[in-house]
Amino acid sequence: MSKVVFILLFFSVFLAAEEGVFYINGEAVKKISLALTTNAIDFGDVYNDSEVESVLTEFWVNAEAGYDYTVEISNDDDTGVLEVSRSSILGYTQSSITYIDTATGAEQRHEFYVDLNTAIMSGDMSATITVMVAYNDIHE
């Protein structure tokens, strides 16, 4: 009987609890997507100071309208031969390129140029260019 009394008292605590209200807010945000239109670039046969034309490479980003995202274009070439730029004639760099854009909610076209600094070439080259995109501020 004492057990029954205890259990009744235990549940009566919940029964006697006051009601409370809280709200759950959330905003549906689409997952950011990225698609490069180029798989590979083969500059063919090159030698010191040979002229190679830069190659235009484009990629598409789709993210939630109004949200900022960061784009980073990097490569793993440690010889300094591989160069990239967002302009066809200026700003070529062996380092990474980073910039911020604001999503429109539709597919957004981005582009960069790939070139070789043949003046310092001394052997075959094989490198990977990585394009990364990420939202800047997803609320926790």
């Binding site: 997952k31 239109t37 094989s126 990977t128 939202y135």
Partner: protein, 162 residues
């Protein structure tokens, strides 16, 4: 009432409550990737380094001395050494003015660096003295030109879905 609150019934109630609580927790768990996780894509860049083609001569100047019309002079042998990439082929030509007589390896195409990076071209230089006149000095330059036949150009592989 007594039957309703038996120990067995209470245990069943507590067990059921626990299972519901555990299940609801599992349902609420979000195992999808975080929205702020970076998305990446890659492309491969390659190039084949080729030794620049070059030419070296074993002779810098030839002076035939004093000559006269129809005089007999011996030709001079010249060796041009071409350096390039194994597996590549090249075209060459040796040229001069009409007063210079050239024989031997004076022109060719698709000459291969089969298993070595050098190739020797042997040619002879003479003078056409039939038209030589007194007081005339001949000064001519002989040019050796070489170039690769097939330097691969850039190729771009597009993604199939775009």
């Amino acid at each position: 009432m007594k039957k309703l609150f038996t120990a067995a019934a209470i245990k069943t109630l507590l067990l059921t409550t626990s299972m519901v609580a555990i299940s609801s927790t599992a349902i609420a768990a979000n195992t999808s990737a975080l929205l702020d996780t970076a998305v990446t894509d890659t492309l491969l860049v390659t190039a084949k380094y080729v030794t620049p083609i070059s030419v070296g001569l074993d002779t810098t100047t030839i002076d035939f001395g004093d000559v006269w019309s129809d005089s007999v002079i011996s030709t001079e042998a010249v060796v041009a050494t071409i350096t390039g990439e194994v597996g590549e082929t090249f075209t060459y030509s040796v040229t001069g003015s009409s007063i210079v007589l050239l024989t031997g390896d004076v022109s060719g195409s698709t000459v291969a660096f089969t298993d070595t990076t050098t190739k020797a071209l042997n040619f002879n230089v003479g003078l056409n003295v039939s038209g030589a006149t007194t007081g005339t000095t001949v000064s001519e330059t002989i040019t050796i030109s070489v170039n690769y036949d097939a330097i691969a150009d850039t190729t771009v592989t597009r993604a199939s879905s775009t």
